[in-house]
Every structure is written in C-alpha cells, then in structure tokens.
C-alpha cells in the first residue's frame, strides 16, 4: 500500500533546542494513525512541519508526494490536507457564518452539504461572533472548518480539547493522522 506521509530523519531545532530529533514516519493510504508522546515530545512541531507551516531543519518529508521543505509544495499540501491545530484561535471579530464563508473561498472542493449538516449537528449559531463562543463551540467550529474543506487527509492535533460531549465525526471519506 502506498504511503501518504513519509518522513526520513526529519529534524527541527530552535537555536540550541532540538524539538524533533530525526523522526521516521510512514502513513499508508486508507488508514487512521494516532501520534502519541509526552508533553514537549515534538508532536505538534512534527505536525506543523508536515503541513508545511514551519521549515524543517533537516531531513526529508513528503505528503502526497509533495516536499514539505518546499515553499511552493507547502501550498499544495495545505490545499489537500486539513489541519485542526492545538491552538484553536480563530478570528474573534467574525461571526460563524463569516468565517465559514472566508474559509470556503480558499477551497474549491468545499463541501456545502457537510458544512450544513455539521452546523446543525454541532448547534453552531451562524450569526454569533466567535468571541462569544464557548471553548467547546470553538473546537466544534474549528473541526467544521477542517472537515468541510473537502480535503483528502486530516491532521488533528488535540481535536477534542474543551469538548466534553462525545462527537460523532464524519470519518468515512478521510485519512487521518
């Protein structure tokens, strides 16, 4: 089975601090992969490198064949891979409907059906400002914004933070990390 994610000796350092020390990873197609480690082990840093959000110090990484160390490829990666970060800050001044519209404009394969069903299922009020949403509601909104992108692959970093309910996610069409 071919791999969606492949890394070879991937490293990230911040000055003298080694955040990630040579990770070798292979995630095959049609799989769900959990990524476990202690606090400060470098999980979030690795995920951000895979998303092309931060530049690796050394090593090789590819998602869907795109080089995570290339600026141009990093844009293609983010077109095809949705990410829910540990840091779920969204634009406080926007309403739910506005941020959905804003995010949709970046993704030609946006899933309107999924957007509508998740808005209802999560009970997100379209006219409410994000600054007035609870932490749990923000988490649900971040998940909606990731799921509805119509991406081929999802990377979720502590996706249920602040969420007490059991969420039934629309898992079927996606690969997960």
């Amino acid at each position: 089975m071919s791999a969606i994610v492949e890394t070879v000796d991937l490293k990230k350092s911040y000055a003298a601090v080694e955040a990630v020390r040579g990770i070798n990873l292979r995630v095959p197609e049609h799989s769900i992969c959990a990524f476990l480690g202690q606090n400060g082990a470098g999980k979030s840093t690795t995920l951000r490198m895979l998303m092309g959000m931060i530049r690796p110090t050394s090593g090789i990484g590819r998602i869907f064949g795109f080089d995570i160390g290339s600026e141009r490829d990093s844009v293609h990666i983010r077109e095809r891979v949705a990410f829910v970060a540990e840091d779920k800050r969204l634009y406080e001044y926007m309403t739910v409907a506005q941020i959905v519209r804003f995010t949709r404009s970046f993704f030609p394969r946006w899933r309107d059906d999924l957007e509508q069903s998740l808005l209802e299922r999560f009970g997100l009020p379209p006219d409410r400002k994000i600054r007035k949403l609870s932490k749990g509601m923000r988490t649900k909104l971040a998940l909606l914004l990731a799921f509805a992108r119509g991406s081929d692959f999802l990377i979720l970093d502590e996706p249920t933070e602040g969420e007490n309910e059991r969420l039934e996610w629309p898992l079927s069409p996606y690969h997960f990390l």
Partner: protein, 158 residues
C-alpha cells in the same frame, strides 16, 4: 500568526502582503478622511478652505504614515507576542518624536514632512509646494522596511 491562518493554502509572503495592503489602504483612508473634515466644517465658521489643500495635507500624512505602517509590519515579523510589536512601535515612535527635536537632526524630521511645516506660506498658511524629497525618501524607507519584513518572514518559515 494563528495556526488557522497558517493552515490556509497561501504562502506567508502573500499573507504579509495582504496585511500590508489592508494597512496601507486604511492609513490612506484615515489620513484623507480626517483632512476632509476641515473644508467640511469651515463654512460653519464663515470660512472657506480649499479642498485641494486639504487633499495635499492628507497625502503628506498618508505617505509619512506609510513609514510607520511598514515599521509596525517589520516589528510584527520580528516579534511573536500579540502586543510586543505594538508596545515597541509606540515606544519607538515616541522616542523618534522627541529625538527629532534635537537641532542636529531636526531637518530630517518625518513629523515636519508630514505636517508640511517647511513648505507652508507664513502669510496664507497654505502649502506652497509639496516636499517631494521628503515624500520620495519616505516611500523608499517604507519599501525597504516592507521588503525586509517579507525576507524575515520567508527566512523563518514559508
């Protein structure tokens, strides 16, 4: 920048240029609108103030203001904290304001360029000419500051 923004399929260079474009447009709108208030309210006191003069002063404010806008962008690309760039920017501008009072560098004062102080007719209090040299230098400095911000952002990450 928030992780949500960075997860969008755009480069940081494009994000920075978009922020810069919005900030520059806002600076021009604020400068020009505030200057329009003078000709608007002058008739209430029985005076007339030329609209062209008002636009000229607004233009000086906007172009001089570009230096501060681009300086703020540079600070925000250098420092991560939410308020760090803002606080440092205010401190730097306050320091510059008082430093330009010194006689040795007073002729280089950007604040004088923005107010057109050296180009005002003392009899009519109207602008005689625009300070083209000051305007050109301001534009050049703004361009250099913005280019440096882009390079810093690109060298850190995508």
């Amino acid at each position: 920048m928030a992780a949500f923004t960075l997860s969008l399929p755009v480069t940081r260079k494009r994000l920075l240029l978009t922020r810069a474009a919005v900030a520059i447009v806002e600076a021009f709108v604020i400068a020009l609108l505030s200057c329009l208030l003078i000709p608007l309210f002058s008739p209430m006191n029985g005076y007339q103030y030329p609209l062209a003069q008002s636009f000229a002063f607004g233009f000086l404010l906007a172009v001089g203001g570009l230096v501060f806008v681009c300086f703020s962008l540079l600070l925000s690309s250098l420092f991560e904290g939410e308020y760090t760039a803002f606080v440092l920017g205010i401190c730097a501008i306050a320091t510059a304001f008082f430093a330009f009072k010194a006689r040795s560098i007073h002729r280089w004062s950007i604040f004088d360029m923005m107010s057109g102080a050296k180009h005002i007719d003392p009899n009519t209090y109207l602008l005689r000419t625009l300070p083209w040299a000051g305007l050109s230098i301001s534009l050049l400095i703004s361009f250099l500051l913005l280019s440096t911000s882009i390079e810093i952002t690109r060298s850190h990450n995508f």
